[in-house]
Amino acid sequence: MKKWMGLALSCFMVLSILAACSKNNDNNAASSGNSSPAKESSSPKAENGKPVEITFWGDWGGEGQKQFETMVDAFNKSQDKIRVKYVLQQDMITKFLTAATSGGSPDIMFWDRWRTDLYAPKNVLHPINEYMDRDGINKGDYYDEALKELSHDGKLYGLPLTVDARALFYNKKMFAAANLQPPTTWEELATDAKALTKWNGNKLDVAGFSLGDAGLFNMYLQQAGGRMMNAANDATDFNNEKGISVLNLWDRMLNQDKVYKIGFEQGLGEGTDAFVTGKLAMLYTGPWMLSTYKKFGQDLDFGVVPPPAGPNGDKGSVMGGFGLVIAEGSKHKDEAWEFEKWWLANKDNVLLWSKMSLNIPGFKPALDDPFFKDDPSWKPFLDTLEFAKIRPQHPGYSVMEGDGLVPNLQLFLEGKQDAATTLKKAQEQGDRLLKDNAEAK
């Protein structure tokens, strides 16, 4: 009797698991095959009197989530045809990979712009050119470089939400104590950094300038008058005298003037940030650090200037930032566009978002507002954005930089490789990585 019960029980368990599994499979199968018009028509349209619900994905939690939700609420209150819902996806891109083709696609997404070149050719993003023409949105209102980064093959895939670029942060107290002016050229940068550095025997007390991130090579190369990729956009273009001049500057500052020590800032969090604790006099960072540094008030008296110009007076910085894109898998693209247009092509709404989140918007007319005009901390960034360039538009660019170029630069900074070898090896490895990651059809 007992045995029989045991048998029955286990059978039941096995069957229930089987059932659960097959159920899931069925669901997946049903949803993966759904470009089906049946499903589309079954969803409620605005004409029925019911509002259309659309989903907005983003990977910003915490403060960012609150800011997004404020915008969503404001939009939902402004009309009664569309209801937007913000969904936080911590691992948004990975989630989108499966969702894009299996029916769970979001309607509109918060988008790190540089990804456009990888995803647009896969037909998972919806071009907005027709909407732009229909609604008469002026492209000239946006930063050209940001629009470029959201474009692929002549099609535009979204509007820029934020723009950013690195500029030079400096500690005003230290500069006053050493009687120095913030640098405007490489030469001044090097001499200032040397004057501000303090060693105590073998211990670095104050670093004059941060050389911790070899990934900023792109920005220095622009200042030297060079560019990362050739005109055909299929190979690297830094193995030349311009690249050498960047490495010479680094070598001079790190190894001769000893204004920095490798690993000096590694692992330091917000409260122990070397710039905050007065252990670092100058560094390159972006407007996203303004709110953090301002929190320290009187304890951290800092200024910002545009990046110093290179030996021939060339200026350079790298523009980055986010946009909003509409997913090709969305069933409510028109409604998603309405939301995007409301947020990003309307000065009041752009300002509502910018003031709340302290981001520089990609919509230029909003920058005339006193919020940006009268606060001097924005000016250096707005000046920098005038000449900042986006990363080269190649699907393999980030891999080339991260796996080909930066490791070689790190060997150079450690003194294990001379400048000529560094650039030669970076070029060889970088070009191969570009080739291997080029086809994105």
Binding site: V14, I17, K122, I262, G263, F264, Q429, D436
Partner: protein, 295 residues
Amino acid sequence: MLRSRKLNGHQARMAYLFISPTILLFAVFTVIPVFMAFYLSFTNYDVLSRMDWIGLANYRKLINDDLLWQTFRNVLYYTVIFVPLNILTSLLVALLLNKARMGVKVFRTLNYLPTLTSAVAAATVWLWILHPEFGLLNGFLGYFGITGPAWLSQTDTAMASVIMVTLWQAIGSNMVIYLAGLQGVPDYLYESAKLDGANALQRFRFITWPQLRPTTFLVSTMSIIGALQLFDQAFVLTQGGPANATKTPVYLIYQQGFNQLQMGYASSQAFVLALAILIFSLVNMKLSKAEESIV
């Protein structure tokens, strides 16, 4: 005789029945995906738009992928240092804590604690300890007039630092396994050896070590697999740098598959890694078989 066989048959049936849920889950979530990945490694699958058969092209591409081979050299180096050290230290700690003394449970707990902390949180703390200027370790070395290196930012010390941190975290669980093994060694073996005049070292060499053979096999196999799949701690500590010195195959596979959308190629890389793990495990099996148990 017949009766007992019948009983065995019945027991076997029940046993299969009881393990069937696990086997089923294993099949659905492990075996089937493995076969799918094997198929994908012969395609240009990009998750989003295509899945065409391209034959051996991915595997041909692998041969010239210098970065992949560098990551393999990195984890091989890591494995060769990490696995023996791991066995040695966890066995030593287990031997020390095998005695029934006052307070030994406290020490067992303390040694096990690092295993309980999340890898990422522990790595963050180690980032601090290993900081070149303000870190505990270099501060300590400073008392002896030694200027410590930038542990995680220099190519010579980065991998050694990763080994140190992962070892610190791995010892606890292996110590527990060894403790269980040590408790299973019958006391009469030691007693008779003592009667025959064997000293402590001989007792360890001829009783403890051979008796622990299955335990050592388990510990070494698990740590070989873990070592070749190194990812999270190394990633938090160094992000694969400096100069790719701590970049691992798993990191590369993830990047290739999810960031570059070359899932087919990433699958072929994953199969090379699986093959490497298989080879290492087989070698390990041979080594542990070679040393025949005495009892």
